[in-house]
């Protein structure tokens, strides 16, 4: 993966930079090499890079001060939350600082009357739910990494979770943010009220992967826990039957709280790991969770069962207790580490496809296993078409990492080819950066970069991520004007 060429002048100026940062963020600057080493990678751990300096601010003011120093000295900045990102968004740059938000970890305000929680960005996703669960509330988006990942990282990646088909992803669950621009200016959007005024900047900051601003405060909405939740395990003799069942459930007007699918290799790996009671011989396994009042859940479970049996389900088990429901999920939630046990290494892909293309995509992936000589296990947010093929490989075998990466790229291209997209929730980062041209043409990407130019015209904030080519903003601003006649003069006018 090619990163922008380090700026020699910045590297030479390191000592002056450290001195100025220490004044801006007293006691929060890490210069020693072995301490910096802890920040050299994120969840995409095959890429490592020692950062120039690590800065750990404790307040919005310190974030702003650090950014001002970097702006003045022309130094690049990579924001970092908990470092669980899977696309390399927090991969350091040799000539850039890591701006770590982990010390901004306070819950600032809990407001049950307005049903909001306001937190600093380093608070973990699950930390929000923990703070309000004694009152029966929770924060709905639940990435599998929720014990560790930060809410700031969730905003930057617009993270999802297994319950997002019904409850939405991050962008649908936040009401306000505060962020700091590369100039060090603090901007607040929204609050406890609905809709931020003017252009929807909260909408574009969310999912901007640390390229537009550093998020320093987040106000989320919280919900009361549903009265009950029950899950049903459905096993199918083919992947197609599982896919058809998903479509039929949605066509019947049912939006389950969660609807997850695993293929045979994934469900077996999970079963080996946690003994969830999955039917090992099923070609595909669906977990469908219904939540709400008891009466609704019972009613809908019956309908889901009926639909699944009508489409050939060979296994059907409904959870009868909270423990059993948790056990059904334990396998799915541990699917990544479970697959991690059956292979030396694995790479988690994250494309979204139109659901109807699932059989075709899985068939093609099976063929590709032979072409690339590597195996894949599939877990799938079935309700919204978000695929997580896990490519198994062994990085100690020469050439296997490269082959796995090529396989991954081929899978993502396939997603785009069938009308889908490169990433459903993990972000582009560096991992999918060079595939962006498969999904977007030059004009699409240029317009996205122009948005970046409005926030950070010098490309100092997390450069080398998301966009394959960094156009200079001055060049992008130039306009080609086509002088011409009044358009389509033959059309009727009024």
């Amino acid at each position: 993966m090619l990163m922008p060429k380090p700026d020699e002048a910045v590297l030479r100026n390191r000592e002056a930079l450290v001195a100025r940062l220490e004044r801006a963020v007293p006691g929060g600057v890490i210069g020693a090499e072995d301490a910096r080493r802890a920040y050299d990678t994120d969840g995409l751990s095959m890429y490592r890079q020692l950062p120039l300096v690590v800065v750990l601010p404790r307040s919005t003011a310190e974030v702003a001060a650090a950014l001002k120093v970097c702006k003045e000295m022309g130094v690049k900045v990579v924001p970092r939350g908990a470092g669980t990102g899977l696309s390399g968004g927090a991969l350091p740059l040799a000539d850039g600082i890591i701006l770590g938000l982990s010390k901004l970890n306070r819950i600032l305000d809990i407001d049950y009357d307005n049903r909001t929680v306001t937190v600093q960005p380093g608070v973990t996703n699950l930390g929000i739910t923990h703070a309000v669960q004694h009152a029966g509330f929770y924060y709905a988006p639940d990435p599998s990494s929720q014990i560790a990942c930060s809410i700031g990282g969730n905003v930057a990646e617009n993270s999802g979770g297994v319950h997002c088909l019904k409850y939405g992803v991050t962008t649908n669950n936040i009401l306000g943010i505060e962020f700091v621009t590369m100039d060090g200016e603090v901007v607040r959007l929204g609050g406890k009220h609905l809709d931020s005024e003017g252009y929807d900047l909260m909408g574009v900051l969310t999912g901007s992967e640390g390229l537009l601003g550093v998020v320093t405060e987040v106000t989320v909405r919280i919900l009361q826990k549903p009265e009950t939740a029950r899950a049903v395990l459905l096993g199918f003799p083919s992947v197609e039957a599982g896919g058809e069942t998903v479509a039929a459930i949605i066509a019947a007007g049912i939006i389950p709280g969660g609807m997850e699918m695993m293929d045979n290799p994934a469900l077996n790996a999970a079963e080996d790991f946690v003994n969830a009671g999955y039917p090992r011989d099923a070609a595909s396994l669906l977990i469908v969770e219904l939540d709400g009042p008891m009466a609704e859940v019972d009613h809908l479970i019956e309908r889901v069962e009926g639909i699944a049996r009508g489409l050939g389900a060979t296994y059907c088990r409904v959870s009868t207790s909270e423990e059993e429901r948790a056990a059904f999920w334990a396998g799915r939630k541990a699917a990544f580490p479970a697959v991690g046990r059956i292979a030396a290494d694995y790479m988690c892909m994250d494309g979204t496809i139109p659901r109807k293309e699932l059989p075709r995509v899985l068939r093609r992936m099976t063929e590709m296993q032979d072409e690339f000589g590597l195996r894949v296990a599939n877990v799938f947010h079935a309700g919204d078409g978000n695929l997580h093929p896990l490519i198994l490989f062994d990085a100690n075998n020469p050439g296997e990492l490269e082959r796995a990466e090529k396989f991954g790229a081929a899978i993502l291209r396939l997603c785009v080819e069938v009308g889908g997209v490169l990433t459903g929730e993990h972000g582009v980062g560096i991992e999918k950066r060079d595939l962006m041209t498969d999904q977007f043409d030059a004009a699409d990407l240029e317009q996205q970069i122009r948005l970046k130019c409005a926030f950070d015209p010098d490309h100092l904030l997390n450069p080398g991520k998301v966009f394959p080519v960094l156009h200079r903003c001055a060049e992008l601003g130039r306009m080609v004007v086509h002088k011409g006649r009044m358009p389509f003069p033959d059309l009727p006018r009024f």
């Binding site: 939405g168 574009v204 969310t206 609704e296 059309l491």
Partner: protein, 406 residues
Amino acid sequence: MTVLKPDNAAQVLEAVRWAVAEEQPLEIVGTGTKRGLGRPVQAAHTLDLSGLSGVVSYEPEELLLTVLPGTPMAEVTALLAGRGQEFAFEAPDHGPLLGLPGGGGTVGGVVSAGLAGPRRFKAGSARDHVLGLHAVSGRGESFKAGGKVVKNVTGYDLPKLLTGAYGTLGVLTELTIKVLPGPETARTLVLAGVAAADGIALMAAALGSSAEVSGAAWVPENLAFPGLPDRTPCAVLRLEGPAVSVAARMTHLRAMLDGRAAQAELAGEESAALWRAIRDVTPFAEDPDRLVWKLSVPPAEGARVLDRLLSACPGAKAFLDQGGGWIWLSLPAGDALAGAVRGAILAPEGFGGGGHATLVRAPEAVRASVPVFQPQPAGLAALSARIKAQFDPKGVLNPGRMTAGA
């Protein structure tokens, strides 16, 4: 004054390129039903998109609809209803409020105005449902953004930026929007005889419960809504979903609020008519000379802000939606009282206060002189202006619609 009426995206591109070359600003319209929203546009030419009409694809099982922006809302609503689906954000029909017949408007207009109805707090607004789009920027370039799947984080979420931008950043030429199953049934609990502050407390209790309330409004004694008792202030709570579920949640809700107000229920068409009136702000449609504001504030502060509004604005009438978070305010014809209205919003302090006010209906001259949208702090305004310049450097798209001079 020229009206350009393209039939397809290529012609839209040609029209915008001409406007850029000649530095001739365009007013962009669908069928013009929302011309009364926002600031009046200063443009000699109109780009009429009603010719870009039609459904490109509708896939109910994928929860996806792709349409051309000029497609009438009425057509889309009927198409979706045929499969038991809808836009979950309940777009209001502001026609009657703005002095026009109901049932008009296009999908592009709804998206550009970023509309939402009573379900806003639960299901979101148009911005939460627009998944992908094609547009022509004010640079005279076509681009696409987002995608045609329900879950996507590839690249910046430009669809959110263009939704609610009133056509000032790009001319929409195609939209992909998420659709959802409509509720099987709906019932409304009416809590009669409660003042605003009590109404808000009751709504907060309901919204903070597991009853999955999908509408929470309070109406005063001096506004008439269908199905509600005369001259009685009421809080109303809507439950939607499968009949068994609604019945169970209604029982739970009634028990929870027992003894705090007189209870009554509306079902079927009666319930639907009430929520249509709340959504479309129908009581304010009747007196077209009065001015209408919409305020968005923290819901728990709704009653305090309402009190401040009523004492600062003589002759004001108002009702609350979103559990108190939206205040629909009607003022006698004349001065828009922008200072008093915006001054009623509590100043941000600690973690309370804040919000914004939009002048929704006023004569053109008033909308040209009073900031229709909440003025932004300098830093945010400068950032918004830089974004506008990146999408429309020559200012040819709906100049002045959101901010004076931009």
